[in-house]
């Protein structure tokens, strides 16, 4: 059974700082997604990573995938308050998404 772990579970960071969220998964997969969820809202797709070494960037967020290590990272550069949300990674297992525990990010001035 595929298991997905994220760390940290909670991240409080100051505006302007950099940080990385880690996503580890237990068995081979060819696709990994990152989602953002605001309180009381649904899931917003941020990135899909399809191959080993894939790197995608959008604004202050950059995601990467190492399929050999079964590890994905979501790097935040110069955080701003608008990035405060919960971030989930999700790994595809026979066409279904298996989600991590989530990282609740809080950015303060």
């Amino acid at each position: 059974e595929l298991k997905v772990e994220q760390n940290p579970l909670f991240l409080s960071m100051q505006e302007g700082k950099n940080y990385t969220i880690y996503c580890n998964y237990s068995t081979t997969s060819d696709r990994l997604y990152w989602y953002r969820q605001d309180p009381g809202k649904s899931l917003e797709s941020l990135f899909v990573l399809l191959s080993n070494g894939a790197v995608k960037q959008e604004g202050r967020l950059m995601a990467s995938l190492d399929t050999k290590a079964r590890l994905s990272t979501l790097h935040i550069t110069a955080a701003v308050h608008d990035l405060s949300a919960t971030y989930f990674c999700a790994v595809v297992d026979t066409d279904k998404l298996i989600f991590g525990t989530g990282t609740r990010l809080q950015v303060f001035p």
């Binding site: 797709s45 899909v48 998404l97 989530g102």
Partner: protein
């Protein structure tokens, strides 16, 4: 392109009552999923449909939960009888051949 539609948005029921949720996926999406998201946790898959057939329902508590997808389009998820621990957001998602998953706004269920 219209998104995944879910209703109702909110539902409050007493324990042991029954409740049903409805989902209309994106047109043409053959695969439909129901997820349960308990507060503070990641979504957990309950059931996966391919057209109107069940692909995976291994995590569905079948003694109280049931789901169907009529004619391979709309789907309903039912809980009967509800327990306090069923309080959660129920998310419906659809995809085209396992790529590009789109989630609905969810139904927030509170069991009191």
């Amino acid at each position: 392109e219209a998104g995944v539609a879910q209703s109702p948005r909110y539902k409050i029921i007493e324990k042991r009552q029954s409740v049903a949720f409805w989902c209309n996926p994106i047109s043409g999406h053959a695969t439909l999923y129901w997820y349960q998201q308990i507060l503070g946790q990641g979504p957990k898959l309950l059931i996966q449909f391919q057209n109107n057939g069940v692909v995976d329902d291994s995590q569905l508590p079948k003694d109280r939960f049931s789901a169907e997808r009529l004619k391979g389009v709309d789907s309903t998820l039912k809980i009967q009888p509800a327990k306090l621990e069923d309080s959660a957001v129920y998310l419906c998602a659809s995809s085209l051949s396992g790529y590009g998953y789109t989630f609905g706004s969810g139904t927030r269920l509170t069991v009191v």
